[in-house]
């Protein structure tokens, strides 16, 4: 499958999975979809019939809240039936909201931020010791970079020259309550990683050609590589893009679901079948005048402390 097709399916599954389950984090699922799609379509070496094969590349989604994206990619890559995706969040399901290693193809459970890069560094170090050739990939969030343990791991990976480790930062510029800039600024993110000694590549993380080029040819000898993937939170659905509301809200019945599906169908790559609404939605409901669209849901929009204003540099 081509990465563009896989990315579309991840987004379509993501919409359906959150819609059916009332699950959150669709914004993060959409921002990371292209990175995951390029990894699973073009980069990672794996065997769905032998998920623990020793020569496979290791992959950790450290921002575990975007778990639906991984589950969709694994199902579409043959690790389990895509039908199971509908059980996401359900009683008795394997597919928890955050990534679980009880699912075939998942190397490491996550959900608490700031663990994945360290674990991947441990895997990379063990691979070096045992002279194994596979690579170790980890996707972290930009909000996750608030966690001190990320920077403990960043120092560690450089110190031990883990050039078999590739960290991709899904830099969608938003975190739980606000934009990253307004919460704890890590600007310039690439400069910080550079100062820690990493090989830094900055790309448009929703552009497949750039993702592919960085992942395929971006690594260097002697140090770990970080790909700062600038993405758009909620990418692909106009009313979700850059709106914090969609870190939490799931596409409800009515205009929310219908608009999301319709917009995806307007950009459907050739050779892909929508498993849920093969022909799109006939007469989709459109947003009415009371729809909560294009409103600013960030904390800073309404939180104005008296003692502190963030002075912008001139």
């Amino acid at each position: 499958m081509k990465s563009k097709q896989l990315a579309w399916l991840i987004r379509r599954h993501g919409i359906e999975m959150t819609h059916l389950s009332g699950g959150s984090h669709i914004g993060a699922i959409m921002s990371v979809a292209d990175i995951i799609a390029v990894l699973y379509a073009d980069i990672l070496n794996f065997d769905p019939n032998n998920p623990k094969k020793d020569t496979r590349d290791r992959f950790i989604l450290s921002k575990g809240h975007a778990g639906a994206a991984i589950y969709a990619a694994l199902a579409e890559s043959g690790f389990f039936d895509t039908e199971e995706l509908k059980t996401h969040y359900r009683n008795g399901s394997r597919l928890s909201g955050h990534v679980s290693h009880h699912v075939p193809g998942v190397d490491f459970s996550t959900g608490s931020l700031g663990h994945g890069l360290s674990a991947a560094a441990g895997m990379a170090l063990a691979a070096k010791q045992d002279k194994k050739e596979h690579k170790n990939y980890v996707v972290i969030g930009d909000g996750e970079c608030n966690e001190g343990s990320v920077w403990e791991a960043a120092l560690f990976a450089v110190h031990f020259g883990l050039d078999n480790l590739v960290c991709i930062v899904d830099h969608n510029h938003m975190q739980s309550l606000d934009t990253c800039e307004n919460v704890i600024s890590t600007t310039p993110l690439s400069g910080i990683w550079q100062s820690f000694g990493w090989n830094v590549i900055e790309i448009d993380g929703n552009d497949h050609a750039q993702c592919y080029e960085a992942l395929k040819n971006g690594t260097v000898k002697g140090k770990p590589t970080v790909i700062i993937a600038n993405t758009v939170k909620g990418k692909g659905i106009s009313y979700m893009e850059n709106d914090l509301l969609w870190h939490y809200r799931f596409p409800h019945d009515g205009w929310e679901y219908d608009t999301a599906v319709t917009e995806l169908h307007n950009n459907k790559p050739d050779g892909v079948t929508d498993p849920y609404t093969p022909n799109g939605i006939e007469n989709p409901v459109t947003p009415d005048e009371n729809a909560d669209i294009y409103n600013d849901h960030t904390m800073s929009a309404t939180h104005k402390p008296t003692w502190f204003t963030k002075e912008k540099e001139q």
């Binding site: 490491f108 459970s109 608490s112 663990h115 674990a119 441990g122 170090l125 403990e152 560690f156």
Partner: protein
Amino acid sequence: MRDTFFKTLTELATENKNIEVVTGDLGFGVLKPFWETHPDQIINAGIAEQNLTSVAAGMALEGKIVFTYSIGNFPTLRCLEQIRNDCAYHNADVKIICVGGGFVYGSLGMSHHATEDIAVMRSLPNVTVLCPGDLVEAEAVTRAIAKYPGTCYVRLGRGGEKKIHESLPDFEIGKAIPVKSGQKVAIFSTGAIFEEVDEACSVLENSGITPTVYTFPTVKPIDKEVIRNVSETHEIIVTCEEHNLSGGFGSAVAEVLAELPSHARLLRIGMNDEYSTLVGDQKYLRDQYGMSGKKIATKILCEVK
């Protein structure tokens, strides 16, 4: 105890190249022989216990048997969630080694007193908790955990502990070890506090009481059978630990006793749910907080009357 641990681990690491030590920049003086003889089997991860613990989990999932090493509360409380999510939940073969259980680093202050570690580690599913009481137990524990798959927590004393056992050829994780056979009173001891228990026994024996004594090098899984049998044949069970009473070894014993239809009375000796605020060495602090041999004996004598 610390030296015995590393001596044993050095032997084991020679036999098994998958054994790795990851230190949090600690072990001056004791780790040198290990890194000189096994340079490829030790990593200094720096003063960064969260990263260290997740790194250990990652290495373990790749087939290594990883011993993380630090002192006091640093290898446990500082990185508790990494132990829970990354080690225990994944059943990763990580052995968390703490030197300095209780008041080992007495004069260094409260930050260095490990007095809640047993309780916290014991509450985590998939974590085996071990507190050897002398050098012989320390060696047996080290050998046993190296063969035992899964996450373990080992709380070591620092050194100079009195010898309890001549040898332990039948050591098993989860089994208490009989030390003395007596009547009426039974004392269960875990970890290095045994030397105080031993002193308490001398006082008790001079007062005409001959207690039964067991050491519990494993706190989790706790030896239910010994607790049950001793409860049936004794009036009072006394637990001794250099640790807070809340949730620790005494609590583990209490949980077993409480579920029996009837049971012996329980006297728990340890820190009475407080932080140590005094300055002093291990012996001094044990005495101040009621865990010296004399004070243990006095508490037991009060209970027996």
